[in-house]
Structures are given as structure tokens and as C-alpha cells.
């Protein structure tokens, strides 16, 4: 009998080595993950991300200092592809740095709101009872706050800065996550694996961390992508009113606000930054819709 065991083992094909999985399999996996993906939207998001990270390298000239002699040149010029503003600043460079502001604020605000909303949802759904009642009443109260009015007021009290804009958007936009995720948590806590974990003596903290939270990540990703557009618009809106990113930093909202004085002579000043905002928001909306369909086909809309 000696040696039979090793023969059996030898007849089993050896497990695939990492090198054998190789490029082809990787490509296949990525292609599968991207099935039905909105290509244009992903390209726009990637472009915005690249602009945000590589702004100093990509921008052809300074976003805050311009040559007055070059002021108000229309797009299409050899030196200034998208034209210049009233101070002779290159619009393309301002747009690229603006992407940095929009993307940074969008991502961080979504992160703050998502963390807050998830915490509320998990606490609410796991502890239930009066914790749930109190937290859900608070969610309702926050939902009743007129978002932009409160944001304008608080930012003006704190003073306009990037951090304050991120915090206020995060603090006023967590309710969507809390409501949707709470439903998910309630559904999860009814399921056998969570009940069994509880019977096995798992603590609430262990339950939330190991069993509930990992099952929320899909939904969280979808909501976060959809909320990215909201955060971008909120930042641009605050900056448009002069209560967001302090000048001379080129927030897209600030650029639109400044364009109002030059409507009769420079159509590109209001058109181009608005187009940038719309494209970024549309890209994150469409990507969010696609992610939702991928992760949960039953909730497909339209």
C-alpha cells in the first residue's frame, strides 16, 4: 500500500501557478467585470481622476496668474486651446485644476457622508428598539433641512475653505445612505448566518464588523457613485454663491460666477465650466446606475 497515496496525489493536476493564470486570464476577468459598462462615463471619470492627480503636470500654464494682454481670447487659439478669461488666465489650465477641486471634494464628502450614514444604519438595524427610533427620527429631521440654505449659512459662519465644504456636504448628505442601508441591515439580521453567529456568542461589534458591514459594501459603492455627482454640484453651487472654495482657486462654480460679467463678450466662459460639471455628474450618475444593475438586477429602473 505504500506509495498509493502519492500516486493518487500525482494524478491530480497541479494547481495553477500565478504565472500561468497570466495576462489573458486577467484581461478576461477585467472584461467580465466591465460587462455592459458605460464606456464614455468611465473614460470621463478616469480623465477627471487623471486631471485631479496630475494637474501641475498637465496644465499648460498657471491657473491663477495670467497675462492681461491675452485677456478674453476665444477658444481655438494656438496658445490657449480653450481661450482665456478676463484676467488672461488659460481656461484649460483652470479647468484641469478645477477638476482637482471637484474630484477631491466629491470623493471626500462622499466618504464622510457614507461613513456617517453607514454607522447610523448599522447601529439602527443591529440594536433596533429605541436606538432605531431615535436615529430614524434624527434622519427625518436632517432630511427636512433645506440643504443649500444650511450649507450656505454654516460655511459663512465657519469661513469658506476646502475642509469646511467637505464637512458640511458630508454632514448634510448622509441620510440617503442611512435609510437605504438600514433596510439592508434589517434584512441581513433576519438571515440565518447572522442569527447563528449571535447564537454562537458573537458580540454585537463582531456581528457588525464581520457579518453585516461586508454585505453592505456593494450597496455602499452604488450609493457613493450616485452621490458623487450630488457632491460635485453642491460644491460648485456653494462656490458659485461665493461661499465655497476661496478665490483665486479655480473651482468650476467660481468660474461660472465670474463669467456672469462677461456674458456679452465671452460666451465660452459660462459654457465650458458648466459643460465640465455636467459631464462629470452625468458620468458618475450613469456609472452608478450601471453598478446598481450589476449588483442587483431586481432594482433596475427605467
Amino acid at each position: 500500500m505504500k506509495g498509493t497515496g502519492s500516486e493518487v496525489i500525482a494524478s491530480v493536476p497541479p494547481p495553477l501557478q500565478a504565472s500561468e493564470v497570466g495576462l489573458a486570464a486577467m484581461v478576461a476577468r477585467v472584461r467580465n467585470a466591465l460587462r455592459g459598462a458605460p464606456t464614455c462615463s468611465l473614460v470621463i471619470l478616469a480623465l477627471a481622476l487623471i486631471c485631479a492627480m496630475g494637474a501641475p503636470l498637465l496644465a499648460p500654464s498657471s491657473p491663477v496668474v495670467g497675462e492681461l494682454a491675452d485677456a478674453l481670447q476665444p477658444p481655438g487659439g494656438a496658445q490657449h486651446l480653450l481661450g482665456t478669461d478676463n484676467q488672461g488666465r488659460d481656461l484649460l489650465s483652470r479647468l484641469i485644476y478645477g477638476a482637482r477641486i471637484s474630484v477631491t471634494i466629491g470623493l471626500l464628502a462622499v466618504f464622510v457622508a457614507g461613513a456617517l450614514g453607514t454607522a447610523v444604519a448599522v447601529l439602527s438595524g443591529v440594536y433596533k428598539g429605541w436606538v432605531d427610533v431615535v436615529l430614524m427620527r434624527c434622519t427625518d429631521a436632517f432630511l427636512a433641512l433645506p440643504f443649500l440654505m444650511v450649507a450656505v449659512t454654516v460655511v459663512s459662519l465657519l469661513g469658506p475653505s476646502m475642509l469646511n465644504v467637505i464637512l458640511i456636504i458630508g454632514l448634510l448628505r448622509w441620510m440617503g445612505y442611512a435609510r437605504v442601508l438600514r433596510g439592508e441591515v434589517l434584512r441581513l439580521t433576519e438571515m440565518d448566518f447572522v442569527r447563528l453567529a449571535l447564537v454562537a456568542g458573537a458580540s454585537h461589534w463582531h456581528l457588525m464588523r464581520r457579518h453585516v458591514f461586508p454585505n453592505l459594501i456593494n450597496t455602499l459603492l452604488v450609493l457613493g457613485t450616485l452621490e458623487l455627482g450630488v457632491a460635485v454640484i453642491a460644491e460648485a453651487g456653494l462656490s458659485f454663491l461665493g461661499l465655497g472654495i476661496p478665490r483665486p482657486l479655480p473651482s468650476w462654480g467660481t468660474m461660472l460666477a465670474e463669467s456672469q460679467q462677461y456674458f456679452y463678450i465671452a460666451w465660452w466662459l459660462p459654457v465650458i465650466p458648466g459643460l465640465a460639471i455636467t459631464l462629470l455628474v452625468m458620468a458618475s450618475n450613469l456609472t452608478g446606475d450601471w453598478l446598481r444593475d450589476r449588483t442587483d438586477p431586481t432594482r433596475r429602473q427605467l
Partner: protein
């Protein structure tokens, strides 16, 4: 019904109380209103006197009670910018303009969004449907201030058809068109999407098949029988949309110099008129809460499943 109404009103009162707490906390924690009201060169004794006058030298919990007392008695302090008139009075004088604007925006979005949604649902995947859906995606991604600026660029600067600033008293109805369209633009897309999907559901429901089998003309089936049920979500989402409209009004009113409460808020923020800011934020929140309750109650009255369930 009565039990449901009492319960819903109770929730409303609790929510309203929490809203006052939120507003109070956000406004007080985020900064010292006295430093906000006075110029930077104010002397120390000025600051102290101002603090006493506004009751801000008391501990926070007493300030909160005073804040609540102000709400109950209707005293919200006096405006610094508008000739020391009561803040509440200043707010009330600006309220009608905002109501005109939001009403016009809602009417515009319903008149355009609902028929577009019905058209799209009757011919799914036709050219109309795809155009409408693409339009809805773009419409929901355009920020309200950009829509406003584009309208001004097109109709004031290039075509010279419409005035771009002033409010209804000075310009009449022509001045209402662009602000209402830019404020309602987002809602057109939202209404279109909702009506399309509920209409698709309704059209395959047994009662519609039944009506069709009876030989009722297609037109009547669509616009009378199916739309009646398909339009309910437009109504139930109204409270949510209203909160959006109030936010949008802040920006739209600023662009078009519309003399409503949104513009009042921005002006007061820049004039550091704390009493007015507080009043506007509080009443905007109160309007949203009350509207939520009204919509819920009406909905329950319309649909017995809600009030009995």
C-alpha cells in the same frame, strides 16, 4: 384614519423639534454670531454689550430655551440690515416671490414632464422614448445654475427676447419664464422618469387590459384610466422635490435677482444679518416638514392600504 393622522402629526411634532435642535446646533457650534455680526475692528466692550443684548452670555442650554421661546412667541430678533424691522416680517415680505417661483417651476415641470413620460411609455424603445431618456439623463446632470446661465445667454444675450433680472413686480410674467424654467428643469427629467416607469406598470395591469377589451378608445385609456394611477408618485414625491426646489431657489433667485427668500438668505449671509438668516433657515425647514405631513396624510386618505396597514 384618525389614529394614523394622530400618529403622523406626532411624528411631525417630534421631527420639528429635532429640526430646531439641528438648526440651533449647526448655527451655534459653527461660529460665534457676535463676531459674525460686528465688524472685525469692534472693541472688546462692544462685543460684550452685544453679547448681553442678544442673550449670548448665558449658558448654551438657556440659549436653546430662549431660541425655542422665540419660535413659540414668534419673536426672531430684529434685522440689522433692513432698518431694524422684525426678522419675521422681513422673511414674510419675501415669501410670496419664492412661492410664485416654485409654483411656476412645478407647473412647468408637470406640464412638460408628465406628457413626455406618457409618450415614452406608450412606445417603449421608440425614437421618442430613447430621445426622452437621453434628455432625462442629461437634464438630471445639469446643475440649476448652469441651466440658468445658458438660458440667459440664449434668450437675453443672443436673442434678446426675455429680461434676465428683476422679479415679477417689475417685469411681469415674461420675467418669470426663465427663472421658473431653470428651477423646474431638473424636475422635468425626474417627472418624466417616474411617469414612464409607473405608466409601463399600469399599462400591463389587468384593469387596463379590461378597459381596452371593452373597446374604450386608446386615448381615453391612456390619459384617463392609466395616468390616474401612474401619476400618484409625482404627487407623493412632491415633498421630497420641494426640499430640492428650496435649495434650487437659493441659486436661481441669486442669478435672476428674484426677490424671494433664497436671495434674502444670501444677502443676509453677506450682510451678516444673523437674525434673518436663522429665521429663513428655520421656516424653510418648517415648510418642508409640514408639506411632508400634508402629503402623507393626503396619500393615506387616497389609499386605504397605507392608513390600515
Amino acid at each position: 384614519m384618525r389614529r394614523y393622522a394622530v400618529q403622523r402629526l406626532g411624528y411631525g411634532v417630534v421631527t420639528m423639534w429635532l429640526v430646531t435642535l439641528c438648526v440651533f446646533a449647526l448655527l451655534r457650534v459653527s461660529g460665534d454670531p457676535i463676531k459674525y455680526m460686528l465688524p472685525p475692528e469692534a472693541s472688546f466692550s462692544d462685543i460684550e454689550r452685544m453679547r448681553r443684548v442678544h442673550g449670548l452670555d448665558k449658558p448654551l442650554w438657556q440659549q436653546y430655551l430662549l431660541f425655542n421661546k422665540g419660535i413659540v412667541t414668534g419673536e426672531f430678533g430684529v434685522s440689522l440690515r433692513w432698518d431694524h424691522r422684525p426678522a419675521f416680517e422681513v422673511f414674510l415680505s419675501r415669501l410670496p416671490a419664492t412661492l410664485q417661483l416654485t409654483t411656476a417651476a412645478v407647473v412647468f415641470s408637470v406640464l412638460l414632464g408628465v406628457p413626455l413620460g406618457v409618450l415614452a411609455a406608450t412606445r417603449p424603445n421608440s425614437l421618442w422614448d430613447r430621445l426622452g431618456r437621453t434628455g432625462a439623463v442629461i437634464g438630471q446632470s445639469m446643475p440649476v445654475f448652469w441651466v440658468g446661465l445658458l438660458l440667459i445667454l440664449l434668450f437675453t444675450v443672443w436673442l434678446g427676447w426675455l429680461p434676465s433680472a428683476g422679479g415679477i413686480d417689475r417685469l411681469g410674467l415674461a420675467g418669470l419664464i426663465m427663472p421658473a424654467v431653470s428651477l423646474g428643469f431638473y424636475l422635468v427629467a425626474a417627472h418624466m422618469r417616474i411617469v414612464r416607469s409607473t405608466m409601463l406598470d399600469a399599462l400591463s395591469a389587468p384593469y387596463i387590459v379590461m378597459v381596452q377589451a371593452k373597446g374604450i378608445p386608446r386615448r381615453v385609456v391612456l390619459w384617463k384610466h392609466a395616468l390616474k394611477n401612474a401619476a400618484i408618485p409625482v404627487f407623493t414625491l412632491f415633498a421630497v422635490n420641494f426640499a430640492q426646489l428650496i435649495s434650487g431657489a437659493v441659486i436661481t433667485e441669486s442669478i435672476f435677482a428674484w426677490p424671494g427668500m433664497g436671495r434674502l438668505l444670501v444677502e443676509s449671509v453677506f450682510a451678516r444679518d444673523y437674525a434673518v438668516v436663522q429665521t429663513v433657515v428655520f421656516f424653510a425647514a418648517a415648510m418642508i416638514v409640514i408639506l411632508n405631513i400634508v402629503v402623507d396624510l393626503t396619500y393615506a386618505w387616497l389609499d386605504p392600504r397605507i392608513r390600515l396597514g
